[in-house]
């Protein structure tokens, strides 16, 4: 048996070999662009960031702060689980994971990096919650937030090696997110949470922080020792995820990541062939079948109809953006089929349908989901008294198809075009392709302008305004579907 090979010299050799092929000037240029962009964006978004982290009128009660903390912790944990958190680079899965090197040393750096990132995220979350809370909390709570981030990393790393613990902790995290958001929604709609004794005083916080530090340190040492237990399959999967995430960021192509996650989701499912609904056109039947196969996603989407309630006290335009975004996200549930067809029309050619038939048949399910989401969300907002007078919920019938058209148009865009000429700005060059890609589909949301203006200006919803919006939606969506398709053409990608 081969003895264990020291990892450090191997890694140093790899780094040196890579560095020798890289131009030092390039690296400095990248660092300069990144730092300058962050600085400029921070200045530009200063007001928005201040509004998020410490608004002028803080409105979180003690229970609300706890609920936000639970939701943030759940989100952070699920993000860590998605990324690994224990991972290596993709080349390392091939060359080092299979080599006789110490697993603990191979995987250690990723655990440290994840713990550092989670500590920053935990601290930022604690900072945000404190800024939004009515009462003043101790700055020590920031340390508690950061330490909790590290603790969550260690728990996620332990779960990575233990499938049972993983399913248990994932469920707890999802319940924490759902429960936290539900409590926040309930509070905004009038539920009075149980009285809170006030923020913990320094005499409680100091020992608590100390104990947490000891716990985290001990846990970290145990976690590092435990690293060798992480199965290779899990490490390889998280390496693929983080690698694809890096590709997505580097190539500014979000579909790399979303497609990989979607493929992985379906690969894990055990399906049983069903008959396509006879009365529906074949592609509508296919979309309906696919939507029914994702009950968890449908439930989350149903639950998100209550989220705009959280934005009642936010500026009206934020509420409008949330309403439109929610409608598009609900409609996107089945547009992966459109993306498949637009990216590669092989199956469309086998099906022998023309692009207009395909577009119309594939429009029904996203449209129905959009209508239901927008109608329910508007009805809830109206019930909570957050909207100007009048009946707003019938506008869901108009917003649904507009959201569906936006989702379908975004799916038809295919990949980011990186062949377009970039625009030079003081922050560096702005790539045109990704910007166009990001806004593809969103342009169709202009059709919702009559409703948007009424909401922003606080005008009541009258019968004539509803009729106007429905007419604009019907004409606009019909024009989109007709003009961008052709009964004499099979290909779905826009020309």
């Amino acid at each position: 048996m081969t003895e264990v090979v020291a990892l450090r010299p191997v890694r140093r050799w790899i780094r040196r070999a890579q560095a020798s092929h890289r131009d030092r000037g390039d690296m400095l240029g990248t660092v300069y662009t990144a730092l300058f962009s962050i600085a400029v964006l921070a200045v530009m978004a200063k007001d928005a960031l201040t509004a998020v982290f410490s608004p002028l009128v803080p409105d979180l009660s003690g229970a609300g702060a706890l609920a936000s903390a639970a939701a943030c912790a759940g989100l952070l944990f699920l993000a860590l689980r998605r990324l690994g958190p224990v991972t290596v680079s993709r080349p390392a899965t091939y060359f080092l994971l299979t080599a006789p090197v110490s697993r603990r040393k191979l995987l250690g750096p990723s655990l440290r990096a994840a713990a550092f990132g989670a500590a920053l995220a935990g601290g930022a979350a604690a900072f945000g919650i404190l800024g939004n809370a009515v009462a003043d909390g101790s700055a020590l709570l920031l340390a508690v937030g950061a330490l909790s981030g590290v603790l969550l990393t260690l728990l996620a790393s332990a779960a990575q090696a233990r499938p049972r613990l993983a399913s248990l902790t994932d469920t707890v995290a999802r319940v924490a997110i759902a429960g936290g958001l539900a409590a926040l929604v309930a509070e905004t709609t009038g539920w009075t949470p149980p009285a809170f004794a006030g923020w913990p005083t320094a005499s409680v916080l100091v020992p608590l922080t100390g104990a947490l530090t000891v716990l985290v340190t001990a846990g970290f040492l145990l976690g590092v020792r435990d690293l060798a237990r992480t199965p290779s399959a899990e490490v390889m999967e998280s390496a693929r995820t983080t690698g694809t995430l890096a590709d997505s960021v580097y190539g500014m192509e979000p579909s790399f990541l979303s497609e990989m996650l979607e493929r992985r989701y379906w690969a894990r499912r055990r399906l049983r062939s069903a008959r396509l609904p006879r009365r529906l056109p074949p592609l509508t039947g296919q979309d309906l079948l696919l939507a029914k196969r994702r009950p968890a996603r449908l439930m989350w989407i149903a639950a998100t109809t209550a989220l705009p309630l959280l934005l009642i006290s936010a500026p009206r335009w934020v509420l409008v953006i949330a309403l439109l975004a929610g409608t598009v996200i609900a409609a996107r549930t089945t547009t992966a089929t459109v993306k498949t067809d637009a990216g590669n029309p092989v199956l469309l050619r086998t099906l022998g349908l023309n692009s207009r038939q395909v577009l119309l048949q594939r429009f029904w399910v996203p449209s129905a989901l959009g209508v239901v989401w927008a109608t329910v969300a508007l009805a809830l907002l109206q019930l909570a008294g957050a909207l100007p007078p009048g009946h707003w919920w019938p506008l869901g019938v108009a917003l649904g198809p507009i959201g569906a058209a936006a989702a379908v148009r975004a799916a038809r865009t295919g990949f980011v075009r990186n062949d377009l000429i970039p625009i030079d700005t003081p922050m560096g060059s702005v790539p045109t392709g990704p910007v166009l890609y990001a806004f593809a589909g969103l342009d169709l949301l202009l059709l919702a302008l009559p409703t948007v203006l009424r909401l922003v200006q606080g005008d009541p919803a009258t019968a004539s305004s509803i009729v106007l919006q429905v007419a604009v939606a019907v004409i606009g969506v019909q024009a989109y579907l007709t003009w961008t398709s052709d009964p004499g053409r099979v290909e779905l990608s826009p020309r």
Binding site: E262, R263, W266, A267, R269, R270, L271, R272, S273, A274, R275, L276, P282, L283, G285, Q286, L289, L290, R293, R294, A336, T337, T340, G343, N344, V346, L347, L348, R349, T350, L351, G352, L353, N354, P487, G488, R489, V490, E491
Partner: protein, 216 residues
Amino acid sequence: MSYGSTPVLVDVGLTVPAGAGVCVTGENGIGKSTLLRCVSSLQRPDSGTIRVFGDEPGDSPAFWRAVATTVEPPTWYLGLTTREHAELVCRAHGQDPSAAGIDEALERFGLAGHADAIPPSLSSGQKQRLTLALVLLRPSSLLILDEPEQRLDPDGRAMVAAMLADYLSTGGSLLLASHDDKFAVASGAEITSMEQLAARPATEPAAFPTAADGDQ
């Protein structure tokens, strides 16, 4: 037809009479697949004439209702099983899925045990058989197949050859590229080599389903 400065198809003439089969043979890289792609309208020749059923091949629904091909590697719908892909193809062509013989086709191609699997989880040979099953299930007048015997075991080859012979006997036309002469003979196609094609011009295109006459 050329790739960069490398000419691939020069002065090629080929005619596939209606209801007949032609199998193009030749070594790798000689341009068999390029020829099939040009006939399927998936690649545009630099010059020359191609007629399929008397018309220029193109991205029209009428063309793709008449022509079924395996020249391109397929993509699959995420979340749809093998059997559901077959049913979708039948329904899109207006066939009654229960009468189209989906289960029999999957059985014959050795895919009955994988009816509930999603196609990306199949092996490359199984995917190849599924692609063949789909193009044979749907109605068509011309089949264009690129090395359909690839990744099939000997029994599979014999079965596919018999199905292609069946297809020809019901009036369909067949154009395929293959490395396996025995397979081509069993499928009822006339064998012709790429060298022979370069030597002869296409005959009267109007009377025949496929005629390609290209030069660089």
